[in-house]
């Protein structure tokens, strides 16, 4: 029988995405067994993040400094701006280190049925960044869901008046994917987006 304190910790961990009561119990036991090497560093890391974590007022990224490290990185191309739905999408794109520009996090996607409206997202801030000038291309990197694509269309319409190139991530055949395993919708999209070779 665990103490109420340990129970409280287990329950708090169990609510994290991807964990459940069983994994949480295992994590708690691990932390208790390795207090010096696992629990103490975790505690320090959590305290630091809790004390210093802020949302970047420019792009919406989460960092311990504001503006965030991406926005202040002089090696990045400030003329290129990639718009994503969530911070997780920004991190996914940044992990690949393929995108040399800066980001803009919307904080969600438009959804009439769930009551997420344009003013709930950082679209006005995005328009403000374009109005300030210095941006040549906006890459709309929304999810390929109906709501993601509706949001992309909406933003394209809202920023129509600015002299920037608006592009969208390609939809179709995934790298390493086999045609045989793709659904018809993806195949049709890949066919429509075909391009000359060489």
């Amino acid at each position: 029988m665990a103490s109420p304190e340990i129970d409280a910790l287990t329950q708090a961990l169990a609510r994290l995405p991807g964990l459940g009561p069983r994994s949480a119990r295992r994590a708690v036991l691990h932390l208790l067994k390795k207090r010096e090497t696992a629990l103490a560093p975790l505690l320090r890391a959590l305290e630091t993040v809790n004390a210093r974590l802020v949302s970047c007022h420019l792009c919406g990224n989460l960092d311990t400094v504001d503006p965030c490290a991406i926005c202040t990185d002089g090696r990045r191309d400030a003329r290129l701006l990639c718009v994503v739905e969530e911070v997780a999408d920004l991190w996914a794109l940044d992990r690949s280190r393929l995108f040399p520009g800066r980001f803009h996090v919307l904080g969600g996607r438009l959804s009439a049925l769930e009551g997420v409206r344009p003013e709930d997202l950082t679209i006005d801030a995005l328009v403000g960044r374009l109005a300030a000038g210095g941006i040549d291309e906006v890459v709309l990197a929304m999810n390929a869901t109906l709501e993601g694509q509706t949001t992309a269309h909406y933003i394209a319409e809202r920023i129509e008046a600015y002299p920037v190139r608006v592009t969208q991530l390609a939809h179709g055949l995934p790298v390493g994917g086999e045609l045989d395993y793709l659904d018809e919708g993806t195949l049709a999209q890949a066919l429509r987006a075909r391009r000359p070779l060489g």
Binding site: L110, S111, A112, L113, R117, P118, L146, Q149, T150, T151, A152, H153, Y154, E157, R158, D183, E184, G185, L187, A188
Partner: protein, 364 residues
């Protein structure tokens, strides 16, 4: 392609039943309420979807049974037999489990193994009721030929629901947001309309090419909303122009959800809704059989047909024509009827089963 063995456990009225069926006609006879349609429903669960009654999974589990149910079948294919199993567990009565050759699979994977078409007494009202039933019927025909149709239809509906919700807002909707939703509706709506057009054209051509005979020939056309030549751009423009109209109506008045499948009795030049019940049944049968031919041509495998109580409404001449045609086309066809005499014209090769009191016996 044929279901050669079927075993039911705690399914509807059957605690436990096993059937062996031949590759051709399978005839189930029994009194009203004996459980004939339950057997067809069990076969219909071997395809993706909710089966021929469109029932929920918990309705299919036997009343006063342990809670879950199972339908296991052996499917004979040109390359050999496979085992398909589907059902629910008592602990998760609304979660459908599917096994193909013993391995867990998604319900949609069933579509890769077999195609099924059915005709039930509930569809007798198809020509008399509203257009939505006929659209659903048409969409099922399209889906068997073009699997991508389902995704376009679902996305179109989702975008339309969102647009209707925005238009209903008292403070007025954001025009850019509406335009974004209308772009999605136009893209997927044009794809839905085009796929329906292709299926109707192919079916109509096949039906028109058949000789006039005791069997009713159907003329098919899409009525109500029709796509303009440049459907994508035209639908987007129509939706944009119709915002005020749609807001006042509380629903979207243009688009493929306003189309109707118009069916006529070709030889009588009469709308199907004005034909007799028997003629309507014959028209529907003609469409389903022509569609089975199309699917067989396109995919190389003839769908299994489930014809519930079809013989009852047909006069002897039409019944004989139906049986001749089914025998000539080949493929497995499951049929039900209250009396064995309805199927007298069918040769000895058919599998005949009698259903009574929750049990299935050979012979009929």
């Amino acid at each position: 392609m044929a279901v050669t063995r079927l075993r039911l456990t705690d399914f509807r009225s059957y605690p436990d039943a096993a059937i062996e069926a031949g590759p051709g006609l399978v005839i189930l006879t029994g009194e009203n309420g004996a459980g004939k349609t339950n057997l067809l429903e069990a076969v219909s669960l071997l395809a993706p979807g909710r089966g021929l009654r469109q029932a929920t999974l918990s309705e299919m589990a036997r009343g006063h049974g342990p809670g879950g149910f199972a339908v296991a079948a052996q499917l004979a294919l040109p390359a050999g037999a496979i085992e398909i199993g589907t059902g629910t567990l008592a602990t998760a009565p609304e979660r459908r489990q599917v096994r193909i050759n013993g391995a867990g699979a998604a319900a949609n994977a069933l579509g890769e193994w077999l195609a099924l078409l059915w005709l039930t007494p509930a569809m007798d009202r198809l020509f008399g009721e509203g257009a939505s039933g006929r659209r659903r019927f048409l969409d099922r025909l399209v889906l068997a030929l073009e699997p991508g149709h389902g995704q376009h239809a679902a996305r179109y509906e989702a975008a339309m629901r969102a647009r209707n919700k925005l238009l209903a807002e008292p403070e007025g909707a954001d025009p850019a947001w509406l335009a974004a939703l209308e772009a999605g509706m136009a893209e997927h709506g044009a794809a839905v309309a085009a796929a329906r057009d292709r299926t109707v054209a192919a079916l109509a051509a096949r039906l028109a090419g058949q000789p006039a005979g005791p069997f009713a020939r159907a003329g098919l056309a899409i009525e109500g909303w029709r796509p303009a030549p440049n459907a994508h751009a035209a639908l987007a423009a129509d939706l944009r122009a119709g915002r005020g109209r749609d807001a006042a109506a509380g629903r979207t008045l243009a688009g493929p959800h306003r189309s109707d499948l118009a069916v006529t009795h070709l030889d009588k030049a009469q709308a199907a809704g004005r034909c007799s019940t028997g003629e309507q049944k014959a028209l529907l049968l003609g469409i389903v059989l022509a569609h089975a031919d199309l699917v067989a041509e396109a995919s190389g495998r003839r769908p299994i047909l489930l014809l519930d109580e079809v013989a009852a409404h047909l006069d002897p001449l039409r019944r004989a024509a139906l049986f001749d045609r089914l025998a000539a086309a080949g493929g497995q066809v499951w049929m039900t009827g209250t009396e064995a005499a309805l199927f007298d014209g069918i040769g000895a090769k058919a599998t005949r089963l009698t259903v009574s009191g929750g049990a299935v016996m050979e012979g009929g």
